[in-house]
């Protein structure tokens, strides 16, 4: 995927003017947000569980090397293979090698953001493989040639009407009077097509929500059951995931799953939670002949020792974007790369560079709603600010901003001069505004005045009023 994060501002403008997108986004507060709130309220120990989850992930990340080694060992013992990939290119190459080794032509895929991160589909298709997305949202995007706009609800930017139209166009066998209103009906319709693909697939690729070090298991959660069919019907199951997903034990994973489902969709538990440990054993009724895990790093291990390390706790629940007023205004595509919303604003600069992604950590009011709902207590605003600091230190902050900032800071460090100028400005602006109380246009702030007026000052500064009061008090002999 070619990043367009540098175009964030114009992407956002387009998104704001897109009626259908705005209609789709308007469903978030009453949907995912309300569902999470209800789930949190039903679980009195929710906040304790969050603290527990945070500590657990901190522990796993502090000893990441040990747990990854243990995990690899357990996978190998179960008859599977672990492939380490330091870049997206390495990961794609490893997956392609496995597919070609199995003589594969048809690949089915469950939802995986890491596969988006490495551009897997395009890579496999270039090599002549047919790749079919089996998650409903991803399936819709595939027929629309679009990318996900959300990490758990990839097609959240679409209205129900748009999806119905897509289905009627692509599934030409559909009778005109067939209802396609509910998600369940859409899933049914997609299944008609997907069933044949599941049965004929040579390789099934899934992501992983967590990896368990003690057992070598990978876990996926879905609500459609497509992951199970993807991974158990094909001869080869490939798990594409990243190094930060490993947790020590089965119990640890269970605690995190409780947080994940509630934070993501407000469910107590997702409809399907699937554990995979190695390939089919003698006597197993089904399962793949080969089981491979691709462990992608792509800059993650470099974050470990830095001020950004806390972001690695992320369990990809999407709550931060659901609650983000900026995400709610512009949707996920405006962010211009795989991970949108607050988590994207922190992750993307590390993956595609601060030059490309610099807009993202800046496009936040630091309202803190993301941090307040993050099940892992990731201080997202603080981490965004750290990216702004890097940007500033590396000289990537735009020149005009730098200049304005420096002149302002120099002035603010000289109170006498600062107060004199404030007095002058206050008077001048008050004078210029006449009796109107607000400006409909202001030089250097046309962005602001494009959509709202700019309030005029009262004409005197507080320092002036206070000095006058003190003088008065001294004259009348009143003590404070």
């Amino acid at each position: 995927m070619q990043p367009t994060s540098h175009d964030f501002k114009s992407n956002a403008r387009t998104a704001l003017a897109d009626r259908q997108l705005q209609e789709a986004l308007s469903g978030i507060p009453g949907g995912l947000v309300a569902q999470r709130r209800a789930a949190r309220d039903r679980l009195p120990e929710f906040d304790d569980l969050r603290d527990y989850g945070r500590d657990l992930r901190n522990h796993a990340l502090q000893h990441l090397d040990i747990y990854l080694e243990r995990y690899e060992q357990a996978v190998t013992e179960a008859g599977g293979h672990v492939h380490w990939a330091s870049t997206g290119g390495d990961a794609c190459a490893a997956i392609l090698r496995i597919c070609q080794g199995a003589g594969a032509q048809l690949v089915t895929k469950g939802k995986s953001m890491v596969s988006e991160e490495i551009g897997l589909n395009a890579n496999l298709e270039k090599a002549g493989l047919e790749v079919v997305e089996t998650d409903l949202g991803e399936y819709i995007l595939q027929i629309r040639h679009e990318t996900p706009s959300h990490i758990i609800a990839p097609a959240i930017h679409l209205t129900q009407g748009q999806v119905e139209a897509d289905f009627r166009r692509e599934h030409s066998q559909l009778p005109k009077d067939r209802r396609l209103i509910d998600p369940a009906e859409l899933v049914d319709e997609a299944r008609q097509i997907l069933r044949e693909k599941f049965l004929n697939a040579d390789v099934g690729i899934t992501g992983a929500n967590f990896l368990i070090a003690e057992t070598g298991s990978s876990i996926i959660v879905t609500n459609e059951g497509n992951g199970d069919l993807t991974q158990s019907l094909a001869k080869v199951h490939i798990v594409i995931t990243s190094v930060d997903k490993v947790v020590p034990t089965f119990n640890d994973a269970a605690a995190l799953l409780r947080l994940l489902a509630r934070s993501a969709t407000g469910q107590e538990i997702t409809s399907y939670t699937t554990f995979s440990t190695g390939p089919r054993r003698a006597g197993d009724p089904d399962g793949p002949e080969q089981y491979h895990v691709i462990l992608l790093d792509n800059g993650r291990s470099e974050l470990l020792g830095t001020e950004f390390r806390e972001v690695l706790r992320c369990i990809r629940c999407g709550a931060c974007m659901n609650h983000c007023p900026v995400y709610n205004a512009v949707g996920g595509h405006a962010y211009g790369w795989v991970y949108p919303g607050p988590i994207g604003a922190v992750l993307n600069p590390g993956m595609i560079g601060i030059k490309e992604a610099g807009n993202l950590p800046n496009a936040s009011t630091f309202c803190g709603r993301c941090e307040s709902v993050c099940p892992m207590h990731i201080p997202l605003p603080k981490l965004m600010r750290h990216w702004r600091e890097r940007e500033f230190l590396e000289g990537e902050t735009p020149f005009v901003t730098r200049l304005a900032l420096k002149s302002w800071a120099t002035l603010a460090r000289q109170p006498w001069a600062y107060h004199a100028l404030s007095r002058l400005m206050s008077r001048a602006m008050k004078f210029a505004s006449g009796r109107h109380g607000a400006f409909t246009w202001m030089p250097f702030a046309s962005g602001w005045t494009g959509g709202r007026n700019f309030p005029a000052p009262q004409g005197k500064t507080f320092q002036e009023l206070w000095a006058a009061r003190e003088k008065q008090a001294a004259r009348t002999g009143r003590t404070q």
């Binding site: 501002k9 956002a12 403008r13 704001l16 007023p325 900026v326 205004a329 512009v330 800046n362 496009a363 936040s364 009011t365 630091f366 309202c367 803190g368 709603r369 941090e371 600010r385 990216w387 702004r388 600091e389 890097r390 940007e391 500033f392 902050t397 901003t401 900032l405 420096k406 302002w408 800071a409 002035l411 603010a412 460090r413 109170p415 107060h419 404030s422 400005m425 206050s426 009796r435 109107h436 109380g437 607000a438 702030a445 962005g447 602001w448 494009g450 959509g451 709202r452 007026n453 309030p455 005029a456 000052p457 009262q458 500064t461 507080f462 320092q463 009023l465 206070w466 009061r469 404070q480």
Partner: protein, 260 residues
């Protein structure tokens, strides 16, 4: 420190740069309320801005210099109080983070932070105020500014004091905890998004059908008032301190002099 004759605590009023330049009446109202809570008010001349513009633009060095300047300006005060959740949050939560852990500056910033309070939470939580000098009869709605709400857990305090005013009816609006889209430089750097956010806010304000929209931060208020004024709304916009102190002589924010 505190006045030995009266034993009243000495409160340094950190007016904030926006109040100083745009709406000094908020500073006067704050002083009145602090005095009403039986404290002495001082206003150090060496204060300017809390440093957020630098801090939030990634310019740590200037933010740190301003932090040290502010800390020095308020030496000798028992408390430092600001009529803004955002600036009080900066002084209280972020100044220590600007200093190297273990350094003298860090110790100074931490000791300073412990004395800092946002105005309304100071009145209620520290001074135990349960009534106010202000008088107002009519309906108001209240916007919870982000930093005050999430960094300083200011939620019930303004409501407690507002409800103590006879004749005042508080009508809560939907999504009162969602950001208004101000965000300091954000509003100028990303004006389209900021504008879309404040548009949702003013729709909720209008739906609450109150006479006045109140908040505890002038930045948010200027944003909301600017939008309401563009929409030619009749709803007045004021800092909560103005109502609590009964300082209502000046016209509401972004309103013409004729609308007193």
């Amino acid at each position: 420190m505190s006045d030995p004759a009266t034993k009243r605590p000495r409160v340094g009023l950190f007016a904030t740069c926006l109040v100083d330049m745009f709406r000094p009446s908020v500073g006067m109202a704050a002083a009145r309320l602090i005095e009403y809570a039986d404290c002495e008010v001082v206003v150090p001349h060496a204060q300017t801005c809390c440093g957020q513009p630098a801090y939030n633009s990634g310019d740590r060095a200037d933010a740190k210099a301003l932090a040290l300047q502010t800390i020095a300006a308020f030496e000798g005060c028992d408390y430092v109080v600001a009529p803004s959740g955002s600036c009080a949050g900066m002084l209280k939560a972020h100044y220590p983070r600007l200093m190297d852990e273990g350094s003298d500056d860090h110790a100074r910033a931490s000791a300073f932070a412990a004395r800092v309070h946002e105005l309304v939470s100071f009145l209620v939580d520290v001074r135990g105020l349960s009534d106010v000098p202000g008088a107002f009869s009519g309906t108001v709605t209240y916007h919870d500014s982000c930093s005050g709400l999430r960094e300083l857990t200011i939620k019930s305090q303004p409501r407690t004091l507002l409800k103590s005013i006879p004749g005042l009816e508080l009508k809560e609006m939907d999504d009162c905890e969602i950001c208004c889209g101000f965000g300091g430089a954000f509003s100028v750097k990303f004006p389209d998004i900021s504008n879309a956010m404040v548009e949702k806010k003013t729709a909720n304000i209008a739906a609450a059908d109150a006479d006045i929209i109140l908040a505890g931060d002038l930045g948010c208020l200027m944003n909301m008032a600017g939008k309401l004024s563009r929409q030619e709304s009749k709803i007045a916009c004021r800092h909560v301190a103005e109502i609590l102190a009964g300082e209502l002589d000046d016209p509401p924010i972004a309103s013409s002099d004729d609308k007193r």
